[in-house]
Amino acid sequence: MKLSTSRPSYESSLGLNQLAALVRRQLITSARVPQLLMFSLTMPMAMLVLFSQVFRSVADGPAFPPGVSYIDYLTPAMLAVATVMAGTNVGVAAAIDHTNGLHERFATLPMNPRLPALARTINEAMFTLVRVALLGVAAVALGFEFHGTLIDAIIALTVLVVLAAAMSSLFGRIGERLRRPDVVQFAGMMIMMPFMFISPAFAPLETMPAWMRVMAQLNPVSHATDALRGHVFGSATIGTTAIALGTAAALGIITSLRLRGPRTRTSLDRLDAGLPPTLDQVQ
């Protein structure tokens, strides 16, 4: 029979009520696994301390911008990179919802199927602000100075929150696709690496091979790093910030698109249905 593609309409105030319940749930569960929260918030601080000491010689290289201290150069990059690292946790959280059956429970409830992912993104945005505060304290202790204005600070925070939302969307999608927390953890690390290193985060792009410089143009972390540095140094341009926001938003939108139309069944669908995988899927 012909399947209707019309989408159900959801009462918006009810939607907000449901979203609030999901955000609250994420906050409670995060608070109840304090180890994960603690490590995900303090790891960027540890990296900032170590990198600022180990890689300080980068500042002596010919490609390094003159008159800039390495800690001022590193801190905005670390803020961007920490957002990517935290994305992995979002992916794991999405996968855990699959393994404990909550994903299915949600799917049988009369709510918009996008709400769980949206709740994860809102949570990630909140944690991003906490991370900025903690990282900021550590950076100042290491000699970091903010050369921009209050508006620079606000825009920088906006760039970070948008980037965090994009990463949450990307990794959440990966978590929903791979469904196993352990697999998502590793896949997340694999995906995290190019985002972190094919960017001017730790060393100037000019020192890298041409193909990496081309790839860096597609990397929202790369553009976010440039924009954040601009706001930290007080030398930001509208263009850089717009590209940073645009690439992050594009990544967020692309990864939250639900592909319509017939889709190929995967071995996971078979497992869901209680069927054994076919031979070709085992091989």
Binding site: R25, R32, T108, L109
Partner: protein, 310 residues
């Protein structure tokens, strides 16, 4: 309401080249329980997932309370409660918090807390209410999961192997809960591998095999497929050749004995078989004798040995 609680027509679901459901038709009346029986891979869970709006069939029609589940899944989701094979609960939240969360997501808003308390009362979950799901036993989780599927006061409750892994006390408690729901007018559709469970709970049973309905009817109707009575006897081996009638099955036992079964259309037929077995036999020839009504197991194995009519 005139429309049946569940109406399924010509349901087909394919996974790649494998046909999981192959033309299933069924109907469930309001306030009754339908038991879906079948071995692993027979299509039980696929059927559940279609009814729960989790997968779309390749072909067919699914009406829940007369509402087309494929065209209006959101409407259907307001009317169903689903408990899968694995508890759909957040391990880090307490039982009460889980119930309240699901209440909010089901659209109960500020009534969610009160509804959670109600279910805790109804399912006697007081001692579990403030404990995190991650700390609880499998049986306790399933009870909370069942409560969770009832948060939205569904008119149709869908249960996928609800008592698998439960201890006998918990099983009986869940059976009572299902019976009570039927009394209150809730329709229940459950899959099970336990034939005694289907026998006890279900007014109507569907036996699935390779995605098709192998048999359908009340427990009594299904048992009639096998025959009215079954006579089990343990006889001396040397008597096997002298039996007045050929047994339905013969199984040689250790020592000098064999176990034979006979099916009879009714009690009188069974009495005749017993009389013939006893004729001319001495103490040592007939070691044991039993007349039983067929169980759903007999039906199940009977169907399995016959194969499904194409």
């Amino acid at each position: 309401m005139d429309a049946p609680a569940v109406h399924v027509e010509d349901l087909h679901v394919d996974y790649g080249t494998l046909r999981a459901l192959d033309g299933v038709n069924l109907s469930v009346e309001h306030g009754t329980t339908l038991g879906v029986l079948g071995h692993n891979g027979a299509g039980k869970t696929t059927l559940i997932r279609v009814l729960a709006t989790l997968i779309r069939p390749g072909r067919g029609r699914v009406l829940i309370d007369g509402i087309d589940a494929l065209a209006h899944p959101a409407e259907v989701r307001r009317r169903i409660g689903v408990t899968g094979q694995y508890a759909g609960l957040d391990e880090y939240l307490t039982a009460a918090e889980n119930l309240e969360l699901i209440g909010r997501l089901a659209g109960l808003r500020h009534r969610s807390r009160a509804r959670a308390d109600e279910l805790i009362e109804q399912f006697h979950l007081h001692h579990l209410a403030t404990r995190r799901i991650g700390e609880l036993s499998g049986g306790s989780r399933r009870r909370i999961d069942l409560a969770a599927s009832l948060v939205g006061s569904p008119s149709l409750l869908i249960l996928d192997e609800p008592t698998t892994g439960l201890d006998p006390t918990a099983r009986v408690a869940l059976w009572k809960a299902v019976e009570e729901l039927n009394v209150q007018g809730t329709t229940v559709l459950l899959t099970t591998q336990y034939l005694d469970e289907a026998d006890r709970l279900a007014g109507c049973i569907v036996v699935l095999d390779h995605g098709r309905i192998a048999a359908q009817g009340t427990p009594a109707e299904l048992k009639a497929i096998v025959g009215g009575k079954v006579v089990h006897a343990t006889v001396a081996r040397h008597r096997l050749d002298m039996l007045p009638i050929t047994p339905g099955s013969t199984h040689l036992l250790d020592g000098a004995y064999a176990h034979v079964t006979f099916t009879a259309p009714d009690a009188a037929g069974a009495a005749t078989i017993v009389a013939q077995l006893g004729y001319g036999a001495d103490d040592a020839d007939l070691a044991d004798l039993e007349i039983v009504s067929p169980s759903l197991d007999d039906v199940y194995f009977h169907l399995a040995s016959q194969g499904v009519p194409a």
